[in-house]
Symmetry: C2
Subunit: 471 residues, 2 copies
């Protein structure tokens, strides 16, 4: 490298000028650029610095650089482009590198959960919010942040959650995070640091966030069985834990909705034990047939940590999430956020705040709800017509449902046979902590076309007919 | 709450309709909204749903909702706005909540480090990149992400670092993170998980990232003294550690530049021990007087983790950082990133990739370099003229310099006396692991106006004159 011998600077780092004897300066510049292109360090399409800038950086006259560029253009290494700049003409293509571990043969129809319909992402409205933020945001909003997040977004979310989710939110209790996964990791870290030993989770429940994070933090994880109406409070009563992760509005994955009586019982359990309830409100915005279920946080803001995100409503790629934390924990959670990454990106927060306060978020949800409802209705019809052995449940809300298998059909066998037909569908069993419980299939329908839904269910119906031809 | 008794939906959650007897429906709607406004749940400026939408949600005729709204407008609770919507007219103002722990009386002139000049953030160019990304990005870019980050950005960064920093970067070895703090936390977590026990850091060095993270991960932290030219390799030779955090291009805070011989010695130390060098390349883009110093990563890509960010070049609020990780560690670091937060925000990554590949980043640096150089030159002149007792060092690069105190002046006394005059300046001593070493002041100059620089130094000069009147 040229570190100490050349007087080149930033863009000229690859050029190793030796002034005492040796080749002419323009030859040295040519040679360095040529070698950089050959070795792949300068890739095709890379713009070279303007001759004037490079000459100044190298401390040579501009003519020297012009001569070097011209030679390399003549040799085909460089090319002159409109606009007066020069770029690398040959070498390896700047191909987009392959994603690691891409499946060799993706399924033709994927009922996998968690894939929002990002083809409906409100790009124009989002751009309008960005334009306003870039025009209006004070400079200091670009500096380091508080652990809680931007005050504009905390206020907008408090207003939204109080209005739409029946929550009881003080903006000072909101902590902005990069999605639910980070949020649950921060909370569990804080609880573990303050002496928590056992985390209760629903059984079945998601296996890729709270459970591994708790295990890594040294907490033991205990499952509480779930019935048709969400967590079974009789079983919870017998559970010894310092915190409980709960999906009261739409149990994941089985879809049950916790009754008013059970909610009160959960909160009594928490109060009696001094335990914290972590409410994962992952898809409450989509509710199709009945009254919306308010957040349990609104009933007991001092016992409940509320967690939400834009992953299901807008796009997972935004990595926008939020926690509402009881007063006694919020400083610790904000401090943990600072330690983790110094706060979430500023512009994204301001854009989402603008998007919320201007009613764009409500508008987007109003637009998406009938789209998802229609897909759900199609799925239910297809299940009834093409796979009548399956018994759908948890259909009132969200972006997925569970269809229970008859007891004599083995879940893993069905899932494997469907995969051989090109249909990806998850079973419920892998999400159980105990091995007991009926088999079922999880149908995520939010990102599938209507024809894919019908075709996929028909293929699964054929699988079921083959596995149980007598039915 | 209205959970089970009403047939209202999302925005209508606050409205508790009872159909069997009781008040007329429009009276019930009025009462619910009035109560929500009084209690602060609906804040001034909050838009109400369109009458048609609310009526559909509640299962009442539109006239009922219109009547309720009209009554509340008449009473002054609501107001009709142009555009045909109705919003809350009274109640508590949606004030921006106060930032926690704001200093009661901020310093008049703040030489604090790490505050980029965000008033020069390239808002227009950034918006152009956003517009292109929102127009062109394929839908799947909005979904969940790989732990490494967007392929477009990893390629653009590899090209940039190879071209400008003399690095040797394969895009598959890049992991996008939310700034340096998250990057160092991920690396230290991976190293701790693979058996590392001791982390070496420069002494003095930053006290708010690697050191607390390592301690929290159970590593012991050992300081290696720093001389005028960066880390002292004679001391490093005697150091037993599994990893070393290094600022070779511009030691933080003392400003030394590691010589070619010392770089080779550091790498020999690492190879001999199987240790990892973590290169914190925090401000290399700003170099004023001499050749740029290439990244040490380019010399030994299999032993060095390179860490960079956009915090000093663009804005800390972006939370954009990157790691270049040796092949044997990159999968583990990417997995740790997924566990931490499922990947950095997608749009931000695509925007920065566009910004880099179109040469906007180079253009921004070319614009900023003379601005910062002029501030540095002014600072040096002011120090010479107004505070000649101080001896500046580390002036060749970056956004700060250290000015050493004469041995008979106590650093803490000077810092406190400056603060009483309204000048914030940090001492070097708080950043030392050992107590030994001369006293000095850290002057961050990147975010100060030219007059503030001159006035601030003059005030410090007065402080020094008072503390040592004989000089």
């Amino acid at each position: 490298m040229a570190d100490t011998r050349s007087n080149s600077r930033v863009a000229a780092l690859l050029i190793d000028l030796q002034r005492d004897g040796g080749d002419a300066l323009h030859r040295q510049i040519e040679g360095s650029i040529r070698e950089a292109i050959r070795s792949g360090r300068l890739r095709v399409g890379t713009p070279l610095p303007p001759t004037r800038a490079l000459a100044a950086d190298l401390g040579v006259s501009r003519g020297v650089v012009v001569e070097a560029y011209q030679q390399l253009v003549a040799e085909g290494y460089l090319t002159s482009r409109t606009g007066g700049y020069t770029e690398v003409a040959i070498g390896s293509e700047p191909a987009v590198p392959a994603e690691p571990a891409a499946p060799v043969r993706p399924p033709l129809i994927d009922f996998g959960y968690g894939r929002s319909d990002v083809s409906n992402f409100p790009r124009s409205a989002w751009l309008r919010s960005i334009r306003r933020v870039l025009a209006d945001a004070p400079n200091e909003r670009f500096l380091y942040l508080s652990g809680r997040g931007m005050p504009e977004l905390r206020q907008a979310l408090a207003d939204y959650l109080n209005r739409v989710r029946g929550a009881s939110v003080d903006p000072d209790h909101v902590v902005i995070v990069n999605g639910y996964a980070q949020g649950i990791a921060l909370i569990i870290g804080v609880l573990a640091g303050s002496g928590a030993r056992r985390l209760a989770v629903e059984d079945p429940s998601a296996d890729d966030d709270a459970r591994p994070v708790a295990a890594a933090a040294g907490l033991s994880v205990v499952g509480v069985p779930v019935g048709e109406d969400g967590i079974r409070v009789d079983a919870l009563e017998r559970t010894d834990a310092d915190a409980l992760v709960l999906t009261p509005s739409h149990q994941w994955p089985t879809g049950g909705v916790l009754s008013a009586e059970s909610r009160a019982a959960v909160l009594r359990w928490a109060t009696r034990r001094g335990a914290v309830v972590i409410e994962d409100d992952y898809d409450a915005e989509y509710r199709y047939d009945r009254a919306p279920i308010g957040a349990i946080q609104g009933l007991a803001p001092d016992s409940v940590v509320y967690a939400g995100s834009a992953s299901k409503t807008l796009a997972p790629g935004l990595r926008l999430g939020w926690l509402v934390v009881p007063g006694g924990l919020v400083d610790a959670v904000a401090a943990a956020k600072i330690t983790a990454d110094r706060g979430s990106p500023a512009l994204d927060q301001l854009v989402f705040a603008d998007f919320l306060t201007r009613g764009e978020f409500d508008r987007h949800l109003r637009r998406m709800r009938p789209i998802y409802r229609r897909r759900r209705d199609l799925l239910l019809t297809a299940l009834r017509d093409r796979a009548p052995l399956l018994r759908p449940a948890g259909i009132a809300a969200g972006l997925h449902l569970v269809a229970w298998l008859p007891p004599d059909l083995d879940e893993a066998t069905v899932v494997a046979a469907a995969a051989r037909r090109g249909v990806a569908v998850h079973g419920v069993t892998p999400y159980r902590l105990s091995s007991a419980g009926p088999g079922g299939l999880i149908f995520g329908y939010s990102a599938l076309s209507e024809s894919s839904i019908v075709d996929g269910v028909a293929l699964i119906g054929e699988v079921l007919d083959e596995l149980r031809p007598e039915s």
